[in-house]
């Protein structure tokens, strides 16, 4: 029983022209059994920052609650929203705190920085950041997602085209992965 593959998940984020898209599948399973087909993996941190958490659902929920708490504190102290780069560093630090008993999650962070410049990054379960200029993937379907995104991605896509591309890449990849699927949630900002 692989701990990363206990619940099943697929997450992808892509960069477009002054916009980004983040998408996830909707299946919540317990190994081979599907429990629900409406599970939310992506959450809004603020209007221009979205966080997707793949991996073990319980750790994803705990981590999400901790991060929202930290962000709300930040908002109260600094009276503004966190920049995506800052948030990514925060997530990385929180994950590394548990270096020897980690949260079994791979976060995908997508946000719009200053001047609407899109920012995406992913990290492994102990906080190693992976910044990318085009797309990032996470979850049990990540290998097929890499292939699908690589072939479908184009620079500077407009939001409508970006939405199409992300949806098709996600659907194609989860079709080949039995642990993720049952539709997708796509957020385009």
């Amino acid at each position: 029983m692989q701990i990363f593959e206990y619940n099943g998940s697929a997450l992808v984020a892509m960069v477009g022209k002054n916009c980004f898209a983040i998408a996830s599948d909707r299946r919540l399973g317990v190994q081979l059994q599907t429990i629900a087909t409406d599970f939310q993996r992506i959450s809004k941190i603020h209007d221009r920052l979205f966080l997707g958490l793949s991996g073990l659902a319980t750790d994803a929920q705990t981590l999400y609650q901790r991060l929202v708490f930290r962000h709300k504190l930040y908002q109260l102290r600094e009276e503004r929203d966190m920049k995506p780069e800052t948030f990514a560093s925060l997530v990385s630090a929180i994950l590394y705190e548990k270096r020897f008993g980690p949260y079994v999650c791979q976060p995908v962070i997508a946000g719009l920085g200053d001047e609407d410049k899109p920012f995406i990054c992913t990290m492994d379960s102990i906080g190693a950041k992976e910044l990318a200029k085009d797309f990032v993937v996470a979850g049990t379907a990540s290998e097929s997602l890499y292939g699908a995104c690589e072939s479908m991605f184009k620079e500077n896509m407009e939001p409508e085209e970006l939405f199409e591309t992300v949806s098709q890449a996600l659907l194609a990849s989860v079709d080949r992965d039995c642990l993720s699927g049952w539709g997708g949630h796509v957020y385009v900002v």
């Binding site: 206990y6 619940n7 919540l28 317990v30 059994q33 429990i35 629900a36 599970f39 073990l56 659902a57 319980t58 929920q61 705990t62 008993g101």
Partner: protein, 151 residues
Amino acid sequence: RVQFTEYIQKNVALYQFRNGIPLTTAAAANFTRGELATALRKNPYFVNILLAGYDKETGPSLYYIDYIATLHKVDKGAFGYGSYFSLSMMDRHYHSGMTVEEAIDLVDKCIMEIRSRLVVAPPNFVIKIVDKDGAREYAWRESVKDAAVAS
């Protein structure tokens, strides 16, 4: 198992005393999940929970909480070996807005499936209903009458 549920029960009651208003189902579910999650990395509880409640404003709700503290709001849920059969029966026959009679009928169908398909089928079942009038035991479905078995 009994230890944990009693612990949760007493804490929910405590909240009611302290704050004067009873906990909503969602809040109770999140509290339970929090307790399970905190214990997870030290001394995990091996309890799977289906938490059902009725709130005046939001109506009935059902929460699925498994032993590693995964929380999800669902319309239908099942645990254990019988879940494979029950979930499929429910997928086929469930629709939102069912009446109590239809729901009992569906539960009976699931029980029949479990009885016929499961090798280690338990002989007796209890059905409980939660609605605006509270939680109550509705019926027993017994095939072994001398229930001297410790539950």
